[in-house]
């Protein structure tokens, strides 16, 4: 089991563009959470998906949306990118209460 995987590893976009990040959970895990980690900060919770529905949401604008597929993989979409969206985006999967993180996608918005 490769654990949680994320793609792409790095991404460069310009302001106003849209981006889609992808996450495959650890084998057997049914819940996927997304976090944003700005430089020098701890991860901040964006939202969580379970049974293909958004179960919890953090304090992020509607520009941030997501999806979970029947195979439990997930996507994070960000519309109308701002410079402040530049960050490391982490995906975490879980079956019980412990969450296991992927390597992240580094998004740079120019």
């Amino acid at each position: 089991d490769a654990g949680v995987t994320q793609s792409p590893t790095h991404l460069i976009k310009t302001r106003g563009q849209q981006v889609t990040l992808r996450c495959s959970p650890k084998s057997g895990h049914d819940t996927v959470s997304w976090y944003q980690q700005a430089l020098g900060q701890g991860p901040q919770f964006i939202f969580q998906y379970y049974e293909e529905e958004e179960r919890q949401r953090g304090n992020f604008p509607d520009r941030f949306s997501g999806h979970q597929f029947p195979n439990y993989s997930s996507e994070l979409n960000v519309n109308a990118l701002l410079l402040g969206d530049s960050a490391l985006y982490l995906c975490a999967s879980s079956l019980g209460t412990a969450q296991f993180f992927g390597p992240g996608t580094r998004l740079t918005v120019l």
Binding site: S33, G42, Q48, Q56, L90, A92, T97, A98, Q99, P103
Partner: protein, 112 residues
């Protein structure tokens, strides 16, 4: 509101010395506390959680509800302990994961 505070951004100790990374939290309900570690060029990984009450890589952490703290301790630091450490909190539930609230992290450096 849930909040986690790690008062030290940087901590440097000598090999063989004791280590304590501080974590304080505020939460009105019953929390579940975690320590995550990130070694250089590696992903964030779970180090330990208070409900399991186990020692991982020689580290222990005790939840002190009176002082709302969950400090991470190790009696004798090793060079391989150098990493970024994050304390995190979630709401206690019977099943399923809840959102994690992270502190800002402490970068631990073990000097030879």
């Amino acid at each position: 509101a849930q909040r986690v505070t790690q008062p030290e951004k940087l901590l440097s100790v000598f090999k063989g010395a004791p280590v304590e990374l501080k974590c304080n939290y505020s939460y009105s309900g019953s929390p579940e506390l975690f320590w995550y570690v990130q070694y250089s060029r590696q992903r964030l990984q779970l180090l330990l959680r208070h409900i399991s009450r186990e020692s991982i890589k020689g580290f222990t952490a005790d939840l002190n509800k009176g002082e709302t703290s969950f400090h991470l301790k190790k009696p004798f630091a090793q060079e391989e302990d150098s990493a970024m450490y994050y304390c995190a909190l979630s709401r206690t539930v019977i099943q399923g994961a809840q959102k994690l609230v992270f502190g800002q992290g402490t970068r631990l450096t073990i000097n030879p």
